[in-house]
Amino acid sequence: MSTASIAASIKESFAARTPLRIAAGGSWLEAGRPVRAERTLSLREESGVTAYVPADLTITVRGGTRLSEIEAATRETKQWLPLDPFGSGDGTIGATIATASAGPLSSNFGLPRDLVLGLEFVNGRGEIVRAGGKVVKNVAGFDLSRLLTGSWGSLGVITEVTLRLYGSPEADRTFVIHLGESEKQITSLLRALVAAPLSPFAFVLVSASVSRALHLGEDPVGLIRFGGNSAAVKAQAGGLAQIANTEEIDSTNWQSLREIEAGSHTSLRISGLPQRIVAAAARILSDDVRGVFTSIDPRRGVIRVVAGSAEGTASSPEIAAGIERTDSSELVFEKLPADLWPTVSPSVVADPLSQGIKKAYDPHNILNPGILGDLN
């Protein structure tokens, strides 16, 4: 397969008005609103590194390249792509960019929109479009890379992506933070942690259910990761120890945290002003519902609720509703059982600008139709 053959295939579907389901690794197929499609367009073969000059700290890969392949390719040269979406390393870069999925590292390294330098996609008429470039700074033309990032394959099929890389840190250490007993205690500790001059690679708070899954005890805890040169990491760890009761743990816990979601039925994200999220964190963490995994990124201001069982799925929209009522925030559903979609979230592309863009890029609505909600 090549971009040209994908373009030819989409051209054919455009002529015949055949709706397509875009798929690659297949680990994201449960996410998004149900897609009404007759055929699947697979990018599974569209994988591999197209260009990688380590000293430029940029990499160009095909859309179907698995995150684990990128990790392997860059590890050899002591570099990494600090993009850790929830789920397994089997997920592809195309799906990660298309869904704008981000994990704990994003509060330090940015969201996918911040790491993408350029991309190639095929629109709903089967035309090949290149956006951005391969250099780290670029304002040539209107920003189609940002437009495609998070468009869930509904504006174009991402066939190639150029990303910014970082040097692997000399030291990379993770600590578990024991948060304390009462909500009051937890809240004041969190305020102190957020205000402290610490610059961790990642910092999340997890509910008791997650602690149990990670074998970190029976209570909600914080996980914090410091990276950089050894002196910096040592100083940061020292600073942390003055504020909180901590213990060093293996950094593989981050991978385990991401993988909790691999088999989930439901995942949703509530984001709000960071201080509000901090204020609500203790209460949210104390709500220990079986089968529901909650994690909070206090710096990014994001609460993530994941349900891994039927029992959890039934209660997660209620959790979301409870938070939604008390805080001014944004609520995003990533995964839901199909029958729940119409009840919880209307289309997110119903505004005239989004519809105009969809109609321009995919005039026959053949790319993942319905995945972001229906057009008017």
Binding site: V53, P54, A55, D56, T58, Q79, A100, L111, R113, D114, E127, I128, R130, A131, G133, K134, V135, V136, K137, N138, V139, A140, G141, F142, D143, L144, R146, L147, T149, G150, S151, Y166, G167, S168, S199, N229, A231, A232, K234, A235, Q236, I270, S271, G272, L273, Q275, G301, V302, E330, V332, V348, V349, D351, L353, S354, G356, I357, A360, Y361, L372
Partner: protein
């Protein structure tokens, strides 16, 4: 030699006469804030790139958000094209209006609110970048994008251009620091893009708007992210007796994985012109290149990285590696860099600046190529640029009144640009396409890619009235290809069109 490029895209409808239009606009904003006499409009004839001049028909300066909305709605009702303008410091001819209306937004300069706890601010588009920074400094915060024109340029203009600056190497460009925008579309409709409180799903319309160079409408307010001031800052000045060594050291610092807050390059001619000016920073006059490298963050990490950078510089051939002792010395080192373009005014009355970006490993090779081109055309190229992200600013001071010199300068610049494109680079890193680089768009984007940009623009501005004739050549837009009037009217400015112009201040 005024070309009608701006008018090209708008349909020639019956418009009200200039005096009628001035009168209705005056009813909205007050007569003092409408300019229509050619002498009054002179200052709006060009932007920060004085090689281009266009005479606006009128200029209107709304003083409130409601006035701005009313002006846009009036222009929509009359189908009159317009150009949004901030401080006019842009370097791509992007804010020029060819016999159409300039909507100047510098009077909308309120910092509406600052949320220290959540590190964000809501500002009007005319707020000057540095004023916002001064306003939040006491709270230990800063607004990270720092274009060299920060003391004059506005946040609205920064959004339009997706502006960068030296510290974007570590902190990212405007795109990475804007959370939400309220926009008035050219139709007069008001939309909220992005989210003031969190992260939305759906298409990233905020991302699409940032860097749209005034072609998608104008921002009425902008919610920006503020960044805590770093605990420690260290600024290093390394000087070299060869350009190539400085370029190799740049590549080595980047390859080491350390992300400096800034990594700036100035070559010998630039050093000397700065040292001769009132912005003299104490750079060694006999050096062929200097690097200004800034590291920031928690203290222990900065100190360790400082030693690594020092080692890379020394083993790469640096003659001296000096670390600024205090803030005053740091400021002085930075002032020389930030005012370098201004200092060029000493060399000749006119200046051409480029903004190409190249892969960082190509730096030594491209600098060598630039040197060769400058000898071939007998022009003096000064290189002062953001080396850390490969964003070059070769510039040539010359006299546009000398036709032979002008021709050599333009040929040299075209050849430099072509070599950057051939190296896999981009035609602009932070200045925007505007008028100046439109002629290069087809050398880096395919027809379908340019058409996709046209389609996006048409969604925001179906009548193509907001900053017409900029960014994407009209003939690349499929839907316009069949319109003979448009085809006839379209006259692309040649890149680096030569015109006598004022000196750079």
């Amino acid at each position: 030699m005024t070309q009608p490029a701006n008018r090209a895209e708008s349909s020639p409808v019956e418009s009200p006469s200039k005096s009628d239009l001035a009168a209705v606009l005056a009813e909205i904003v007050g007569a003092r804030h409408v300019l229509s006499r050619p002498s009054e409009l002179l200052v709006y004839n060009s932007d920060g790139l004085p090689g281009y001049r266009r005479q606006p028909r009128l200029a209107v300066f709304p003083g409130t958000r409601d006035e701005a909305i009313a002006v846009v709605r009036l222009l929509a009702a009359e189908k009159i094209p317009f150009v949004p303008r901030g401080a006019g410091t842009g370097l791509s001819g992007g804010a020029l209006a060819d016999d159409i209306v300039v909507v100047g937004l510098h009077r909308l300069k309120k910092i509406i609110s600052v949320d220290v706890e959540n590190r964000r601010a809501l500002v009007e588009p005319g707020v000057v970048n540095l004023k916002l920074n001064r306003h939040v400094a006491a709270q230990g915060l800063l607004y990270a994008p720092d274009p060299s024109s920060e003391s004059a340029c506005t946040i609205g203009g920064n959004v339009a251009e997706n502006a960068g600056g030296p510290h974007c190497l570590k902190y990212g460009v405007t795109l990475n620091h804007v959370l939400a925008l309220t926009v008035v579309l050219p139709s007069g409709e008001i939309v909220e893009l992005g989210s003031k409180v969190g992260e939305k799903d759906g298409y990233d319309l905020r991302g699409a708007f940032i860097g749209s160079e005034g072609c998608f409408g104008l921002a009425l307010d902008v919610t920006v992210k503020l960044t805590p001031k770093p605990q420690t800052v260290r600024t290093i000045l390394a000087d070299f007796m060869s350009v190539n060594e400085a370029a190799q050291v740049t590549s080595a610092v980047i390859a080491s994985g350390i992300v400096p807050a800034a990594l700036e390059f100035m070559d010998g001619p630039t050093i000397r012109v700065v040292e001769d000016s009132i912005y003299a920073a104490g750079y060694p006059r006999d050096a062929e290149a200097i690097l200004l490298i800034e590291l920031d963050g928690p203290e222990a990490g900065v100190i360790a990285d400082l030693e690594t950078v020092r080692r890379i510089c020394t083993s790469g051939g640096a003659r001296n590696v000096r670390v600024a002792r205090d803030d005053a010395e740091r400021m002085k080192l930075w002032q020389g860099r930030k005012k370098a373009f201004g200092a060029m005014g000493r060399l000749a009355p006119h200046l051409i600046v480029q903004d190409a970006v190249i892969p960082r490993t190509k730096l030594p090779e491209i600098l060598e190529t630039i040197h060769r081109i400058s000898e071939k055309y007998r022009v003096l190229v000064c290189n002062v640029f953001h080396a850390g992200d490969g964003n070059l600013h070769p510039n040539i001071a010359y006299s546009a009144d000398d036709p032979d010199e002008s021709e050599r300068v333009h040929k040299a610049m075209r050849e430099i640009m072509q070599s950057c494109i051939d190296a896999g680079g981009s035609i602009t890193g932070e200045h925007g396409v505007g008028l100046d680089k439109m002629g290069y768009m087809e050398s880096i984007f395919s027809e379908t890619s340019l058409n996709a940009m046209c389609e996006l623009r048409s969604v925001f501005d179906p009548e193509r009235r907001s900053n017409p004739g900029k960014v994407v050549p009209v003939h690349s837009c499929r839907e316009w290809q069949g319109v003979p009037a448009v085809r006839r009217a379209e006259k692309q400015p040649t890149p680096l069109e030569a015109e006598p112009s004022r000196p750079v201040a």
